[in-house]
């Protein structure tokens, strides 16, 4: 009798193992193996005729001494900072305002408006906004001319280009922030607001002393998600400026892409891949810490 119980238990163990096996093999082959290869490549030097030689930290030194690398880091950091801040602010403003509307129907309608662009790919959003930013026929400058403001150059100007890209990013990504913050707002009991109102807190003060502190976990999640996302910005730059004018919107992933697929310097691309891996690992671990109530212990 005992042995049948044992074999039954073993069969269940086997079943569980087999259920997760496909996914584990998949990630091993498509993520972890290439990740190891990336690390390997980063210590090699690419010679003519596709030969390689161990180079130690030489490629790291080369990349870290390349001014273009630092330009791309700086551009990416500026883009990320502007984008993440703008998205958090717009998200807070919109979600709190929507939350205070009376009537579920009205709230739903406004939510739809703000969430709609979230469905648009950056490959589409890029040219859509390029057309809006068009110096002669664009909507943006038309609106400015009504207000008596001279037209801007947006993506064609080395100073305006990164803020302009952030606008496109804001347009696509704000919907996520609105949704996450709205979910957070719904989870705050009304009694908190009532109590604050009784104490005399109204309007902005109510939000600064009650709403925003209670939303801090969501704000934290959004900030980190957007930092991670901004770090990896590529699509929207690729379809609009290609890093220009000159190198004023040249991003980290552009540096990576050019090295890997235009200059055929896999070693240099791998160095960036490794550096990015560690940077994002740090952010992801932070993010996981912040997401409250989600613990992955089994």
């Amino acid at each position: 009798m005992k042995s049948t119980v044992g074999s039954y238990g073993n069969r269940r163990k086997l079943a569980g193992f087999l259920f997760v096996l496909p996914v584990v093999l998949y990630f091993a082959l498509l993520y972890y193996l290439p990740l190891v290869t990336s690390f390997q490549y980063s210590f090699l030097e690419v010679l003519p005729k596709q030969q390689t030689r161990f180079a130690g930290l030489q490629t790291y030194r080369w990349v870290l001494a390349d001014p273009l690398f630092w330009t791309s880091v700086k551009n990416t950091a500026v883009f990320t900072l502007i984008s993440a801040t703008a998205i958090v602010l717009v998200g807070l403003l919109v979600s709190i305002t929507i939350h205070n509307l009376s009537g579920q129907g009205l709230r739903d309608v406004y939510t739809v408006f703000y969430v709609l662009p979230t469905l648009v790919s950056f490959a589409a959003a890029g040219p859509i906004w390029e057309w809006i930013f068009h110096s002669q026929f664009g909507l943006a400058n038309l609106v400015l001319s009504f207000l008596g403001i001279p037209g801007l150059k947006y993506l064609n100007d080395s100073v305006q280009v990164i803020p302009s890209l952030s606008v496109i990013n804001l347009w696509v990504r704000s919907g996520f922030a609105v949704l996450i913050l709205s979910a957070g707002l719904k989870s705050i009991p009304d009694s908190y607001f009532e109590a604050a109102k009784v104490d005399g807190a109204v309007g902005l003060r109510l939000h600064f002393s009650i709403t925003i502190p209670l939303l801090l976990p969501q704000i934290g999640v959004i900030s980190l998600l957007e930092v991670i996302f901004g770090f990896k910005v590529f699509d929207v730059v690729y379809v609009t400026t290609s890093g220009g004018p000159a190198t004023s919107s040249y991003m980290l992933l552009f540096y990576f892409y050019d090295n890997a697929f235009r200059f055929y310097r896999q070693d240099r691309a791998s160095v960036i891949a490794v550096l990015m891996f560690f940077a994002l690992l740090m952010f992801s671990i932070l993010q996981r810490r912040i997401v409250r109530g989600r613990r992955y212990e089994l």
């Binding site: 569980g16 087999l18 950056f122 589409a124 040219p127 997401v291």
Partner: protein, 277 residues
Amino acid sequence: MSFKIRTLQRAAVIVLLSLGAIIFVVPVFWTVTTSFKTPKEIMTVPPTLLPNSFSYLGNYHEVFERAKFGRILLNTFVLGVTAVCVSLVVASMAGYGFAKFKFPLREVFFFAVIGVLMVPFHSVAVPLFIYLEKVNLVDTFLGLLLPLVISAFGVLLMREGISSIPDDYIDAARIDGCSELRIFWNVVMPMIKPSLAALAIIKFMWTWNEFFWPLLVITTPAKAVVTLGISYFTNFHFKEYHLIMAAATLSMLPLFLLFAVLRRWMIQALTGTGLKA
């Protein structure tokens, strides 16, 4: 007095919120209307608010003719549906395994799955491309599909959904003599329909909008997906915006339709990705 101020305040809030909503929707409106304008019409100052005639389909005609956009839309659709189907089955199998079984190495495997969320795809893209080159999968549907088909997010989502199923249901089926595979398919799967729907929506959307990986692996226009298709109207010297706007409209349309039909589901799924992905 105070009542008046509050009414004014409320009106101001509605006006600002509406203004913001308009700013968010105008780019979509502008894209769709531009796609019905002739190349000449889009270059008028000031621009016409609505196209002279919505029956001008010349841009769409040209998009379908020149870039084989019908083929491109079909490719993307097939890619999306395949990724959805495969990930629904494989991710829920794994989710089931992690949620309801104990076996050696479980913690290690689970950590490995979470770890994938922290690996930026770009960190593995170059070696992955080189592997695919070795097995002649560059510029093929399979090569395009492979890294997009399963996401760690899906596994975690399914694990969470399945965790909430009471063990009694599973044990009852086991006592009835069901095989483990049948329990998974006939007992577990029907009980996690909301999670399956959320994963299906998100997976389809992600695959539909994916740009980076197709850009690397696909070189033949006939094998392209819609995100690449939009860029086929950009030449080195100029951009044919009347065509780009038609292509962009076509690229947005399926997800907008999906959103119109499944709004609540989609909002829920999108909220979930923000908190988990």
